[in-house]
Symmetry: C5
């Protein structure tokens, strides 16, 4: 589906144009065409391949729509596969894909399963006419910047989940809650692993745009791409830090479970002792010896009960002091 198709010259928009006119504008000097598609069908992509002379393998990647993030050169055209990352209401990761072809005088962006549009990116580009003179190099940057900017809220949401889990771990809680914590830690780890596998390849790819041999398209825009790179590294480091904390949290939680078990054992043992003592005494005075003087005492029975109660009170106090109850 064609979302947008416009020609620019000297940093300014000339006009919205139709697909068949693209080649006319590409022929004009200093002119530059920007096309945005969304989930295109094979025919649309074939048209684009025709207009811009795109490589067959890149087209396949676009149609396949399930690539790892990467930035590749096909001749003088850069082909970037970007992943959009959002969290849904349950904190589950939703990813989309944005493919960008950036040639000497054109940019073609193709969205798949990406909720977020790039209307604001186009608006920004048309506003910054000075930078827009860089053409494709700037548009590609603006698109990447927009995609990467939206990673941070997802990372932060997961960071908040960790903090909330930490609180839950260190509170006293029921086994059911413990079970919930373990499940949540596992789910968090899973999502962080997924996230890193979306972000890490892009860090590497963007790193190649700012060091070593630099593609012509991004030349003169290094500072901007370095900015995106920095942003990506920060995201990646944040994910790593969170992963490491989750690993520790899993271990720590195991310690807490062991501790809780230990306390249960102590409490049960203490209660058992409180019952065992009177039972033993009662057993003794239930013996049938002919000659048990206490049995004939007038207040033998209440004294015996009192003794039982006293011992239990003493034990109770001792257990309390030892923190067993």
């Amino acid at each position: 589906m064609l979302i947008n198709c416009a020609a620019y010259q000297g940093g300014r928009k000339l006009a919205d144009i139709s697909v068949p006119d693209i080649s006319d504008y590409l022929a004009k000097p200093e002119c530059f065409v920007w096309v945005a598609l969304k989930e295109p069908d094979a025919a649309e992509m074939a048209a684009m391949k025709e207009e811009f002379g795109l490589h067959e393998l890149a087209i396949e990647d676009v149609m396949n729509g399930n690539q790892r993030p990467k930035i590749e050169e096909y001749g003088d055209t850069l082909f970037a596969v970007l992943h959009t990352i959002e969290l849904d209401d349950d904190g589950e990761i939703i990813t989309g894909q944005v493919n960008v072809f950036a040639g000497p005088n054109f940019v073609l962006s193709v969205r798949h399963r990406a909720q977020q549009g790039f209307r604001d990116v186009r608006a920004r580009c048309e506003r910054e006419t000075e930078l827009m003179k860089h053409g494709a190099g700037f548009v590609l940057y603006a698109l990447m910047d927009s995609v990467v900017d939206r990673y941070m809220p997802a990372i932060e949401a997961l960071g908040n989940e960790i903090e909330e889990l930490e609180d839950r771990i260190f509170q006293k809680h029921s086994p059911a809650a413990s079970r919930g914590i373990i499940e949540d830690l596992y789910s968090l780890k899973r999502r962080l692993v997924i996230l890193q596998h979306h972000v890490a390849p892009l860090v590497e790819s963007v790193g190649k745009l700012i060091g070593g041999r630099i593609p012509a398209i991004v030349d003169g825009m290094q500072a901007y791409y370095r900015d995106v790179y920095d942003h990506l590294v920060r995201v990646s480091n944040a994910i790593e830090a969170r992963r490491e904390m989750v690993v520790t949290a899993v271990q720590v939680n195991l310690g807490m479970i062991s501790l809780a078990e230990s306390e249960v054992t102590k409490r049960l043992g203490s209660f058992a002792a409180l019952f065992a003592v009177p039972t033993m005494i009662a057993g003794i005075y239930g013996m049938n010896f002919q000659n048990i003087p206490e049995l004939h005492f007038r207040y033998g029975y209440p004294l015996c009960l009192a003794a039982m109660a006293t011992i239990d009170v003493v034990l109770f106090v001792l257990f309390r002091r030892a923190n067993w109850l």
Copy 2:
């Protein structure tokens, strides 16, 4: 066993030829011979060595049939050892080996223990006459692409196993089931380790075909080999992600076992208390003191039973509320 032997010129098949004719066709300009063998005997390999001038060590590797995946240069010939990976019905890994010699004007592929044939690869190559003009560089790519494409279903099957195991971990289950989960996690880890040791060396080898000094054979086919490389990296990352999750799952499962143990302890303790209280009371009224007034009450006995029952009901409710029962 000879599977196939054909000569190509300008991207098109000339004819199926016999082994002795190979050298004739190799002498023709622009001509290119593609031979496929399956579990050849020493004589067949000796003939091939003769026809194509293959290196003795590579022949040894082929006959040995138990090499790690690699791509090596012997003069202007590339020698690739590829592993095929399939899962059998029990999810156990079955590997085969495909050795490919790709010289300036020939390709020789030798299959060992590989269920999958390459009939479809030959068909594809003969269809794409334009690419077929690249000769050995394209055929080698097509073979690798086919081998690597079939890795993904195995990875996905293991991914499904993990998901199924996750569900089982977080369900309440018997110790026997727990034992099963531990065994399955271990088996999964084992297979992922094996898988990575089949895939990782190939990632490295293919990486050398697309960066740095590039062998003449694959020149002009970079974009295609980069595609295979990308695919391999995705497979490798997927394995890594799954391995990491299995490690976490093992730890998490340990936590679940501890938790379950803790719950058993609580339940046992609660039941013990329900028995201990009546036993203690019964003990008291079993004492032989002369003067225990309650014993002479008319409804002493039923009142006593009622007291026991009441206390137990109260305890039961308390334990329930505390989630101990």
Copy 3:
């Protein structure tokens, strides 16, 4: 907020100057201007951008005030983002940010949320007139040296926390104390992870100043930057060593918890046995057989009590010897 603005020539301070005069002094040969700002507003930064010709992206980074540590080149100007690290009274990490622009004939430092000022750095620079002749290269070094020097106390404070925790782990302690230890270990790990993510990127950035292509500004100051680098590596290694010890401490603590649980179980079992023996004996002599000779012994009852006591004493001694009590 402008903290300071002065011009230097030949290593000596000429005068405190006003912002509008900066360009005059920049024009003078061998002259060099050093400006210090603290949490500047947009207008102040715009003025600086104007005076020194700073890059827009760097300005954005300064205003944003939440960057990872880095050192970047914009043309012949170095832009350094440094993090200050301090621990508050609770041992929690407080970070501030210092941005430094070091151009051929100026230094601009901008502080954010950094408690520590750089009055002492300026004093040192004005004292060491010989080095001050290096201009921006020396001032940047002096600022970095000052920032990095103040990392060490934080690291040492955390080191002391670990040592204190070690003592607590290996002492006998209550479950509540155990819970505290786990929480403290987790908190320590968290802070070390954060710390490393403040320090590690700077190690890498400073490393680039002393090897490979060296920016003109720091040329001739290599030995000094190598000194900062060394300092940073020491800090980074110290953090790593502490992290590794915390990981081990978490595991070791788990072992101590298991051990403590084991001892509780033994003690409870021992006590239970001390009650179980008299109860069993009492039960036997509470049986109603017609013919139990002991019941008719004159001293049957006291002998029975004595037997109970003797057995318990013997058991007690045995348990003590086996370290169960």
Copy 4:
């Protein structure tokens, strides 16, 4: 002790020669001397140093006989320290050392504590006269190939030990067996760590012979050294895979122990309940209330026993169903 000393020319053996004649043969064109020593004394090594002009440090390494595997260049002579690895009947690792000096026209091999001789290597070399024309480069390869070939059986033996341990882990077993499993896992880990520290340095050293600047001696033999390298990498990867599985096995075994403990607790609790119920009932009918009607029933006693038995049977069935017994 001199094992062998022979001169070769054009790939063919000339004669067994005596040590004093070595220099004569070294002077002849195309001639090449191969000496094998076993645990030589200082005098023998001094003679060799004299004959071949060996470096003092290498001589020290040989006499010391306790070096890590390495390949070093001393001028145009390669000095290789190889470790032989064998398992004794208890699966314990036995290592020996083989030092090889490979100069332009000589090879000197010195064995220490190595059971395996190299008679077969000499035989192979004398058989392959074509390769033998490469002289020292081929002999060094043949020695390395022989040493490395014998690593695999050790690796495989350890692999079998792991598989056998896996079986034992997942069987039901006594604590004594568990203890044995833990000890065996630890011992396996220890031996794998030792093994890797014998193999890994050699991987690195051989890697340097096939990439980058290549020593003159091995020139033209690249394909052969690459073969050794491949073999070493396979061995190293196999060790790594086994180490990783042992780590997982240790964790998994811990889970099995926890599970077994959990089952013991349940079984004990179940048995306790089977005793507690009749005891409680007996207590009740042992009370001395004047008015307990059941006591006067004709079949009170057998009914009571029957009730106890019935309850216990019911409980037993319930416990069985819940897998507690």
Copy 5:
């Protein structure tokens, strides 16, 4: 404190000289001065700075006396910071520091907190006049060799500690002993981490002396520095192997604790059963039913006791067989 100050020419000692004469000897051709200091004061170091033209930062590092190991170039002078490592009687690590300046015609060594002197190094150097002609390059090597040689005993002592701990882990032992083992494992880990942080940076620094651009001072001595490097790598690998084994030992010990706990639980359960059975039987015959025939049997009581004893013996045998007692 000045320990030694001597001049050498052509590999031979000329004379012990006084500090003021140093400059005279430095001026002589082929002459070379070697000064050894121990914990010098600021004045002494200032004199040395003057005589040899040392860099201020290196002087600061010497006076500070708390640097990480490193080798740095200041112009044509190498500045090495070496750590001496010794274990005291409790196995605790004691480190000292040796700083060495090696210039074209001088060596200055400065010791801090290092018990070991270098008298033997000087003796060796004066003995090996041939090598001593290399001047500073040889002396620096001799000092490093001496420092590194003394690492090995410390490593071996820790290795012995591990072996002793292994024995203790796999013996049956009391919880107190277990506690001791955990403490010792932790302490061992701590010391290995410290050790590695003393050794690892030096490995890296010495590595730079033997590969890539080589400082003039060490030129022609490569083989010797490579020897030191090899030694360091061996030490470093030995530390790594020990660390890995300690990690495994901690885990394994946890398993042993769990196992021991499991055995305690079983033993307690078994004993409880031995008491529970007679108590239950006694309870039954303590019931007050009018009609319990057994009570009137002549040998009812002894038969009952005999039954109790028999059942307990049977249970005892069963428990023994099941390894519960």
